[in-house]
C-alpha cells in the first residue's frame, strides 16, 4: 500500500507517522504538502498530529481551507482509507467527515500520558488485528481532546458501531469515554491517542502496530 502523510504548516507528528509506515509496517509512504491538489496513486491518507496553523482560532479550523482538503474529502467519499490522529482527528471533525467535535480538556490542562484504551469495535479496517474488547496502551498528548457530541449523535454512533476506541479512565472528560470514532462507512477513523508513538517496546508500548497492520490486512482482504 502507498500512504500519503498530509503535512500542514504546524503539523508536528508528520515524521512519526512517516516512520510508522516506512519502518513499522514496511510500506510505501510520502509526505504530501498542504498545497498539493491531488492524491492520485495513494491508497491511504494519514493526517498527523500537531498544531496546524498554530491551532489559532480553533484547532483544525484553518486547516480545512488548505488546497489539499478538497482532495481528502473526495478520497474519503470514494471509500478509501483516511486516518486522522490528534490534530488530524480535529481536522476531520471540522470537515464534517466525522461527527462530533473536540473541545478543551475537562480540567483545562494539556495532558501527556500513556493511557489504556478499550478496542470497542474490531470489525473496522483499522482494528481487525485486535482482539474484541482488548485493552491496549497508547500515549495521548493533547489540550483539546475532549470528544463532544449530542445525545442523538451518540446513539447513532453506538447503533452504527462507529465508536472504535474508548478510554478506560476518562482522562479528558470525553462523552461516553470516546477516544476514536469512524464514519458510518468505517473508512475514515479519527482518534486522539497516538498509535504512531506506540510501535516498539523500547518507547513504552507496541500496541499501536496492530492498527497499521489492520489497514494492510483490510487491503489484502479487499483485493482478494
Amino acid at each position: 500500500m502507498k500512504f500519503a502523510v498530509v503535512n500542514f504548516p504546524g503539523s508536528n507528528c508528520d515524521m512519526d507517522l512517516y516512520y510508522a509506515i516506512r519502518d513499522g509496517i514496511n510500506e510505501q509512504v510520502e509526505l504530501v504538502d498542504y498545497r498539493a491538489t491531488s492524491l492520485d496513486g495513494f491508497d491511504g491518507v494519514l493526517i498527523p498530529g500537531g498544531f496546524s496553523y498554530g491551532d489559532y482560532l480553533r484547532s483544525g479550523a484553518i486547516a480545512v481551507h488548505a488546497p489539499i482538503v478538497k482532495e481528502i474529502i473526495r478520497f474519503a467519499n470514494d471509500g478509501k482509507i483516511v486516518l486522522g490522529i490528534c490534530n488530524g482527528f480535529q481536522i476531520l471533525t471540522e470537515l464534517g467527515l466525522l461527527p462530533g467535535a473536540l473541545v478543551r480538556n475537562e480540567k483545562g490542562r494539556f495532558i501527556c500520558e500513556t493511557v489504556e484504551l478499550e478496542v470497542v469495535n474490531t470489525q473496522t479496517p483499522f482494528t481487525n488485528e485486535y482482539q474484541a474488547n482488548e485493552t491496549i496502551k497508547v500515549p495521548v498528548a493533547h489540550g483539546e481532546g475532549r470528544y463532544y457530541c449530542d445525545n442523538e449523535t451518540l446513539s447513532q454512533l453506538e447503533e452504527n458501531e462507529q465508536i472504535v476506541f474508548r478510554y478506560k479512565n476518562n482522562i479528558n472528560g470525553s462523552v461516553a469515554l470516546i477516544a476514536g470514532v469512524t464514519n458510518k462507512q468505517k473508512n475514515v477513523l479519527g482518534m486522539m491517542p497516538h498509535p504512531e508513538r506506540a510501535l516498539e517496546e523500547i518507547v513504552g508500548s507496541n500496541d499501536g502496530l496492530n492498527l497499521f497492520q489492520s489497514i494492510i490486512n483490510n487491503q489484502v482482504r479487499v483485493n482478494n
Partner: protein, 736 residues
C-alpha cells in the same frame, strides 16, 4: 516623539537609564568614536555592553571553566556548543535563563525562553530533539506564586508542545529567596548531521544579509538591559521589555533553517538567531567574528508597527527572527526557499570591508561605528570579592535531625514540595512527540534515541542552590556530580555540560565571591569527569530590594549511551530483586531537605567532596550497567536514602523490605556519591565481586507495595498506598 540629541544624552546623562556608566560613556565618546554618540548609537552600546550580552562582569570567572575535550567541535562563544558523538554526528546544546521576563509576564517570559533556546540550536544547523527546564519559585503559599508557577509551566508547555519537541526532563523547586525573583532556565539539545557546517559569520565583501521570520515590533526593547538590572519594589514592571512568542512561526522557521543548512549549505555563509538585543547583536556578532563591516538598511526590515525608529528596530527583541549571510549569486534561491515556508525573507544589508557598522533609515546614516566596539572593546571588570560573614560564623555547626517517628517523618518528607512528584506539572508537557523518547520525565535523566543508530542521548538539568549557599565551592562540585550521577544511572557516559549561572548583583562583593567560588567548584568537577563546559549563560542581578537569591548555578549535562540496550531507569522492576546502596552514608544534614523541614533554615558547612571516590562510584555503576548487572539505578539526592527508595518503589507499584546499618536520621542524610541499585538474585555473586568496597545489601523488592524498614533504632511499616498518596498528590493539593 523627537529623540534626544547627542548633547542632551550627555548633559542629562540619559545613558545611565540604559545601564551605561559614566566611565563607559566616556570611553565610547572620547576614545572609540571621538565624538558624541547619537540616540541610536547610545542605545546600541547600552545593550551590547550589558552584562547579558557582554559578560563584562563574569568573563574573568568564566575563563576558569574547562572547555576542551577530544569531543569538542565548538565551545563557548557560539550560539550553542557542539560535541562529537561519532559516525559524523554531533550533539548541540545550550541552556539559557529567562528569569526577569518570567517574573513580569510569566507565560510569555517562559515561552520565549524556550523559543530562544531552540533557535540557538537550529541556528547551528542542528535539528532540535529535546527540551528540559529548571524552575525555581517562592513557597506555594499565596495566589501570586501559584499564578506564577501555573503560567510559567503553561508557557513552557505551550511553546514546546506546539513546536513539536519533547520536554524530557527538568526540575522544580521552591525556596523563600525566589519569591520575587523566580528562575526560569530552559535547555535544548539538538542533533547535527552536517558536522562541517560553519555557522554564524558574515564574511566576504558584498555578501548579503538576509532577514527571515516574524516581523519586527516594539516588544522586548531593552530586554537585555532589563535582564542586567535588579528588581525593587519601585522598578519591577518593565512589561514592554518582555517579548511575545509565536511557536507556530518558529516551527516553520526551524524546519526551514534545518533544511537549508542540510541541503543548501553552499548558499549561505552564516546564520544566526536574533535573540537578546535582536538585530544589533546578531549582525554585529556575525560581522565581528568575520572581521568585516556591515551596512544595514532598516527600510527593508519587515515591520508590524508603524513609524518605528532606528533605535526601536535595532533594539527590539521580537521573537522568531533569524539573520543569514548569503552569497549574492544564490540570494534569489534563498528568498524563494523561505517563501515555500510562507516566511518573510528580505535582504536588509551587505557585508563591507571597512569594519564599520553602518545603519541607514529613510536614506539617513543613523549609525556609523566600528563593529568591534560593540563586541570586542567592552570593558572587562574585576569585581571585588568578599566571603560572606555567615560562612565563617556557621563553619562548625552540624545539624542532626530529631526523629520521633520514622514513619511520620518519612511521610512528611515525601510530601515536601521539593521532593513530591512533579508529575502534576510535567504531564502538561508533551514528552513523546517525535517518537524517540526512551525515558520520560520522572526518572534520573531523560533519554532520547538517535533514530537509525544504536545510540541514545541522556540529559538532565540539576541544581541545588541550598548547598551552594552554604559552601559555594563544594556546592558547585555537587551540582556537576549530581548531574553526572543522573546520566550514569541512566546508562550514559557524561560528555559535556552547559550551565545557567544565576546569581545576585556582581557589584556586591559577597555575591561575586559566591559566583567565583562556585565556578571554581564546577570547573574542578568538570575536569575530573572530562566534561567540558561548551555553552551557557550568566544571569546576574537576581535580587529583590537588595536581597540576593541563593547562588544558583544550573547544570545541564548531556551523556552518550552507546547502545540503547543499556538504558536504565530508576524504578524497581521485579519483586525479589536485591536492593543495594553503593557508597558510605555519613551525618550530612547541613543544606538538606530535612534541615529545612525541622530547623526551617539553612545552616552549617558542607563536607568536602571526595572527587576520587565520586568518580570511582560512577565508574562502578557504568561498568555494572555495561555488564548487564543492574535492573534499576537511582542517584541519591534530596531526602537521601528514604526518598530514593520511595521513588523507586512508587514509580513501579512495588514495595520493599530492608534492614540497614543506618540509624533512622541517617535515612535522610544527603551524603554525596551514592547510588541505589537493584540486582537480579542470579547476578548477586557477579555484582558483589565487581563492587567490593563500600556497599550495603539492604534487602529485597516486594510484591506488597508497603515499605518495611528496619534501622538501627526502629522497625516500621509504611503503607504503600499512603506513601503514594502523599507523594503523588502533594503538588496538586498545594496548587489548589
Amino acid at each position: 516623539m523627537t529623540e534626544p540629541t547627542a548633547k542632551q544624552i550627555r548633559e542629562e546623562k540619559l545613558y545611565q537609564q540604559w545601564g551605561l556608566t559614566d566611565s563607559e560613556y566616556e570611553l565610547i565618546s572620547q576614545k572609540i568614536l571621538k565624538r558624541l554618540p547619537n540616540y541610536t548609537e547610545t542605545g546600541l552600546y547600552s545593550v551590547m555592553w550589558s552584562e547579558h550580552c557582554s559578560y563584562k562582569n563574569s568573563k574573568k570567572v568564566l575563563r576558569k571553566m574547562p572547555n576542551k575535550s577530544n569531543r569538542v567541535i565548538a565551545g563557548p562563544g557560539e550560539d550553542a556548543g557542539i560535541l562529537d558523538i561519532g559516525d559524523n554526528q554531533a550533539v548541540v546544546f545550550k541552556a539559557e535563563s529567562h528569569n526577569h521576563p518570567s517574573a513580569v509576564e510569566p507565560y510569555q517570559g517562559a515561552a520565549t525562553g524556550v523559543g530562544g533556546i531552540i533557535r540557538d540550536i537550529f541556528s547551528m544547523g542542528a535539528q532540535p530533539i529535546a527540551l528540559l527546564n529548571s524552575l525555581k519559585f517562592g513557597p506555594l503559599k499565596d495566589g501570586k506564586t501559584k499564578h506564577l508557577v501555573n503560567e510559567v509551566v503553561a508557557g513552557i508547555g505551550g511553546y514546546g508542545n506546539c513546536i513539536g519537541l519533547p520536554t524530557v526532563g527538568g526540575e522544580i523547586s521552591f525556596e523563600d529567596c525566589y519569591e520575587h525573583n523566580p528562575l526560569v532556565n530552559a535547555m535544548c539539545v539538538g542533533l547535527l548531521n552536517n558536522v562541517e557546517f560553519k555557522h554564524g559569520t558574515a564574511s566576504g565583501t558584498d555578501n548579503l544579509i538576509v532577514y527571515v521570520g516574524a516581523k519586527t515590533g516594539r516588544d522586548g526593547i531593552h530586554g537585555a538591559t532589563f535582564a542586567s538590572d535588579e528588581f525593587t519594589d519601585t522598578k519591577n514592571k518593565q512589561r514592554s521589555a518582555v517579548q511575545v512568542g509565536n511557536p507556530f512561526i518558529e516551527k516553520l522557521l526551524m524546519d526551514a533553517c534545518v533544511e537549508i543548512i542540510e541541503k543548501h549549505s553552499d548558499w549561505i555563509l552564516g546564520i544566526q538567531d536574533m535573540g537578546a538585543a535582536g538585530l544589533v547583536s546578531s549582525t554585529a556578532e556575525m560581522a565581528s567574528k568575520a572581521g568585516s563591516g556591515l551596512i544595514l538598511n532598516l527600510d527593508n526590515v519587515p515591520q508590524r508597527e508603524i513609524q518605528m525608529t532606528a533605535y526601536e528596530m535595532m533594539l527590539s527583541e521580537s521573537q522568531e527572527r533569524m539573520v543569514l549571510c548569503v552569497k549574492p549569486q544564490f540570494v534569489n534561491d534563498v528568498l524563494e526557499f523561505f517563501k515555500r515556508f510562507e516566511l518573510d525573507a528580505v535582504v536588509i544589508g551587505r557585508v563591507t570591508d571597512d569594519q564599520q557598522y553602518k545603519i541607514y533609515q529613510h536614506e539617513n546614516l543613523v549609525t556609523d561605528i566600528p563593529v568591534d566596539s560593540l563586541t570586542e572593546l567592552v570593558p572587562e571588570y574585576d569585581r571585588l570579592e568578599k566571603k560572606p560573614a555567615r560562612i565563617e560564623e556557621q563553619k562548625d555547626y552540624q545539624f542532626i535531625p530529631q526523629i520521633d517517628s520514622l514513619k511520620n517523618t518519612w511521610l512528611t518528607m515525601l510530601s515536601r514540595p521539593n521532593i513530591a512528584s512533579k508529575k502534576y506539572f510535567y504531564q502538561t508537557y508533551d514528552s513523546q512527540v517525535r517518537a524517540n523518547t526512551l525515558v520520560r520525565p520522572g526518572s534520573d535523566a531523560g533519554v532520547v534515541r538517535i533514530r537509525g543508530t544504536k545510540k541514545a542521548i541522556a540529559m538532565t538539568n540539576d541544581s541545588n542552590s541550598k548547598y551552594v549557599y552554604l559552601n559555594p565551592y563544594v556546592g558547585g562540585q555537587i551540582a556537576v556530580m549530581e548531574a553526572a550521577r543522573n546520566i550514569v544511572a541512566s546508562g550514559g557516559e557524561p560528555i559535556g555540560i552547559t550551565d545557567c549561572l544565576n546569581y545576585g548583583n556582581p557589584e556586591n562583593p559577597e555575591a561575586f565571591w559566591e559566583l567565583d567560588q562556585s565556578v571554581e567548584g564546577i570547573a574542578s568537577a568538570c575536569e575530573k569527569l572530562d566534561t567540558p563546559v561548551i555553552s551557557g549563560n550568566v544571569s546576574l542581578y537576581n535580587e529583590y530590594n537588595d536581597v540576593s537569591i541563593y547562588p544558583s548555578p544550573m547544570i545541564g549535562m548531556v551523556g552518550l549511551i552507546s547502545d540503547i540496550e543499556q538504558v536504565t531507569t530508576s524504578y524497581f522492576k521485579d519483586a525479589g530483586d536485591l536492593i543495594y546502596l553503593i557508597g558510605q552514608t555519613q551525618d550530612d544534614f547541613n543544606g538538606s531537605e530535612i534541615q529545612m523541614e525541622q530547623l526551617g533554615q539553612l545552616k552549617g558547612d558542607l563536607r568536602s567532596l571526595d572527587l576520587e571516590k565520586e568518580k570511582l562510584h560512577q565508574d562502578i555503576v557504568k561498568y555494572a550497567i555495561k555488564q548487564g548487572l543492574l535492573k534499576s539505578c537511582h542517584d541519591l539526592s534530596e531526602g537521601g536514602l528514604a526518598i530514593a527508595l520511595s521513588k523507586a518503589a512508587l514509580d513501579s507499584g512495588l514495595g520493599f523490605e530492608i534492614t540497614t546499618r543506618l540509624n533512622s536520621a541517617q535515612m535522610f542524610s544527603e551524603t554525596q556519591s551514592r547510588f541505589l541499585v537493584t540486582v537480579s538474585p542470579d547476578k548477586q555473586e557477579d555484582f558483589e565481586k565487581l563492587i567490593q568496597g563500600e556497599f550495603e545489601l539492604l534487602g529485597q523488592v516486594s510484591e506488597n507495595p508497603d515499605f518495611k524498614v528496619t534501622t538501627t533504632n526502629e522497625i516500621v511499616v509504611i503503607d504503600g498506598q499512603e506513601a503514594a498518596n502523599d507523594w503523588m498528590e502533594a503538588m496538586a493539593c498545594l496548587m489548589k
